[in-house]
């Protein structure tokens, strides 16, 4: 039984269809990657799973509960068991690293400050930033901010965690650290991880299962090995990063010959 079950999901933004009948299963304790070109609505999918957006039709079940049928209070109860790592980190800029990680504990538990201190230090230790606890978010590099956000996302020991483009814009060392952390955290805490990304190499390296999305539909799904062996030209173009293929290099329109040799002067 999957932890997250998405059925026949339709979602529009204005007149533009973002999802047209998407079905996705995400299994407990696995790392599932949702990949696809920019603008396919990968981040939107995470917001739909987290209940921040409502689908036009279709259902999303998390741990057996239909996210969009829950009351406000029940949704917030469910979110306590969901972690989310935003692309920007979304750290609270007026709090130190320590207070950011302590924030969910202080909001949701009545633990004594001494215990909060120990828990936060352990979480920060796991992402290697225990000694950066007194820094402000503005003093952190992008990679460090994401590691703090990761520590914060797992403070309440959630059942699952969603990563929104965790590798975008990282230098190779930060990237390696993040890949390693996501893999290690998932194993150590038996977390169900959902990674939204278009960094093929890194994501395929740690994912157990991959869904490829394009133009509002699931184009292909399978393990990284299965996808690499896929006969679909589109999948091959995406996985290997080829500049031309089913997704053309040239913006569609008239041919070059037509534009050069026709009588019509382009306006």
């Amino acid at each position: 039984m999957p932890l997250i079950k998405i059925r026949d999901l339709h979602f529009n933004r204005g007149n533009r269809a973002i999802f047209e009948g998407v079905n996705i299963d995400i299994y407990q304790g696995k790392i599932t990657a949702i990949m696809g070109p920019s603008g396919t609505g990968k981040t939107t999918l995470l917001r739909l799973i987290g209940g921040q957006l409502h689908p036009d039709s279709g259902t999303i079940e998390v741990d057996g509960q239909n996210v969009h049928k829950l009351s406000h209070a029940d949704l917030y109860q469910l979110r306590k068991r969901m972690g989310m790592l935003f692309q920007s980190g979304a750290l609270l800029t007026d709090l130190t690293v320590f207070d950011n990680v302590a924030f969910p504990l202080r909001e949701h538990t009545k633990l004594p400050e001494s215990m909060i201190n120990d828990l936060v230090l352990l979480k920060l230790q796991s992402v290697g930033l225990r000694n950066a606890r007194n820094l402000m978010p503005s003093e952190l590099s992008g990679g460090m901010a994401r590691r703090v956000a990761l520590a914060r996302a797992v403070t309440l020991d959630p059942m699952m965690i969603m990563y929104d483009e965790p590798f975008t814009g990282q230098d190779p060392i930060s990237m390696g650290t993040l890949v390693n952390l996501i893999h290690r955290m998932g194993d150590a805490m038996n977390l169900t991880s959902v990674i939204v990304s278009h960094d093929v190499k890194e994501t395929a390296g740690i994912a157990d299962y991959i869904y490829l999305l394009s133009a509002g539909k699931v184009i292909e799904k399978g393990s990284p090995v299965e996808l690499k062996g896929s006969s679909s030209q589109w999948v091959q173009q995406f996985m290997q990063g080829l500049p031309d293929g089913p997704v053309p290099f040239h913006y569609p329109g008239e041919t070059l010959e037509y534009d050069l040799f026709s009588q019509k002067v382009s306006e």
Binding site: K80, S88, A90, P104, E107, H108, R152
Partner: protein, 260 residues
């Protein structure tokens, strides 16, 4: 022609849509207020940044407004030999009108714009979304404490403004222009009514505090999450607050003093 009518219609619809959103936002905010009394520390922090940090501006402005009132009032009253009524003139102008209104305009410029920018930036840096995903309701954790702090601060700041203004009027009237100090204070005490003047001024400042804080928070929360969007929202806060303050001031004045 059709295009003009169409764009007018579209504009009208968008205005009403925003008004609707603004009222739903206010409703959500007010729902978060009662539980703040259990966690008043959240409000205390905001009272500092919204209220205490505005005190200096309010004191200086109040002093100068009072001093100008003293000068201008004296020049008018002396023609009628009524310069001893300067205290009455200064105090009534301030507690009835200028205290709440000028203070609210300054409050919108100082604290209101800061609130909008802060909330707008929190939105654009996904801090509000981040809180939602941590199961912390930003309406209760971020918006409601700021709203209550603005609501409490504004009448207190207006009271300070009026008090310092009266003192400024006295400094100029007595110190510079030689109005008798006994006459200044005694006439003021006799002619300024606690209920009709002071309380009505307080009611005005409470209403302005409510409206300005509401506008500022809503504009921040509803801002387009880009730097340009936050900039526009901050401007809107100041402009809309000014309109609201002046419009409401007229209505409240008509209700309070219209029968006299």
């Amino acid at each position: 022609m059709i295009d003009t009518i169409r764009s007018l219609g579209r504009w009208g619809l968008s205005v009403f849509e925003r008004l609707g959103r603004g009222h739903l936002f206010l409703f959500d905010t007010l729902r978060g207020v009662p539980e703040l009394f259990l966690r008043f520390s959240l409000v205390t922090q905001q009272l500092f940044s919204v209220g205490v940090l505005s005190v200096f501006l309010i004191l200086i402005s109040g002093l100068f407004v009072g001093m100008v009132l003293g000068l201008q009032g004296y020049n008018t009253l002396v023609d009628f030999g009524a310069e001893e009524s300067l205290g009455v003139m200064v105090s009534l102008s301030l507690v009835r009108e200028l205290g709440p209104v000028v203070c609210a305009l300054l409050f919108a410029g100082r604290a209101g714009s800061a609130l909008t920018a802060e909330i707008g930036l929190m939105k654009s840096t996904e801090q509000l979304s981040g809180m939602e995903m941590m199961a912390v309701d930003p309406m209760r954790r971020v918006i409601a404490p700021r709203f209550l702090a603005g609501f409490i601060s504004m009448p207190l700041l207006a009271a300070l403004f009026s008090a310092v203004g009266i003192f400024g009027g006295f400094l100029v009237g007595h110190g510079l222009l030689g109005v008798d100090d006994g006459a200044f204070w005694s006439q003021m005490q006799v002619k300024t009514d606690w209920y009709d003047d002071v309380l009505n001024g307080v009611i005005k400042s409470v209403v302005f505090g409510f409206v300005v804080t509401w506008i500022a928070l809503f504009e921040g929360y509803d801002a387009t999450p880009t730097s340009e969007g936050v900039g526009r929202a901050t401007t809107r806060t100041v402009v809309h607050s000014a309109f609201a303050i002046l419009g409401l001031d007229f209505m409240l004045t008509a209700l309070m003093f219209g029968e006299e």
